[in-house]
């Protein structure tokens, strides 16, 4: 088993664990953070699978823009809840 295959094995296990936590998280902000961690881990997997293009795009879009959109949605929801109480 070369070093790359061991690393891929480890990443697959961590991916599964984080995916379980992301899907079954209680609080929304935890789900979003787990999703962002999942996307960053997938960037590492793409680099190991020799797909640099996809790694850069997933890094910038996956953990960058998608997490930002989720956080802004939760932010504007908290802001409104804060106001109405």
């Amino acid at each position: 088993m070369t070093f790359v295959e061991i690393l891929l094995l480890v990443i697959s296990v961590i991916l599964l664990v984080i995916a379980f936590m992301a899907v079954t998280a209680e609080k929304l902000i935890h789900a979003v953070l787990y999703l962002s961690a999942l996307s960053m881990l997938s960037v590492v997997a793409f680099v190991l699978l020799k797909a640099p293009d996809v790694a850069i795009t997933e890094a910038v879009i996956g953990s960058g823009i998608i997490t930002a959109l989720f956080v802004f949605t939760l932010l504007s929801v908290e802001r409104k809840k804060g106001k109405t109480e």
Binding site: I11, A22, V23, S42, K50, D53, T57
Partner: protein, 112 residues
């Protein structure tokens, strides 16, 4: 092994999509499904051994073994489509919240 993880993530996202009743968690499960699908698509193009990323630096290196570039082009498109659909889903989630003041679909069904 990473291919099995991709398939497991894909099926897991589908499970999360049906089980969750919270709008934001459903969108998170959609993204988990798409990440799993992207990993699976890339994994069918991988060639073990000393394969290189699909960058052909010059005409000399002819005999080298490369990874399959087509799945990578497909995944680039799939990621950007994922951003597009997630942005629309999140805006609809914001409108749901401004209308019903909750993200929980069960509460919304009762209040209707």
């Amino acid at each position: 092994m990473i291919q099995y993880a991709g398939i497991a993530l894909f099926v897991f996202g589908i499970y999360g999509l049906f089980v969750n009743r919270n709008v934001i968690k459903i969108i998170v499960s959609i993204n988990v499904m798409e990440i799993g699908l992207n990993i699976f698509i890339i994994s069918i193009g991988y060639v073990t051994g000393s394969s290189l990323a699909p960058i052909v630096s010059s005409t000399e290196d002819l005999g080298l073994v490369y990874v399959d570039p087509l799945p990578q082009a497909l995944v680039l498109t799939a990621i950007v489509i994922g951003v597009g659909t997630t942005a629309i889903a999140l805006v609809v989630a914001k409108m749901i919240h401004s209308q019903y003041h909750t993200f929980d679909l069960d509460e919304i069904e009762e209040s209707v």
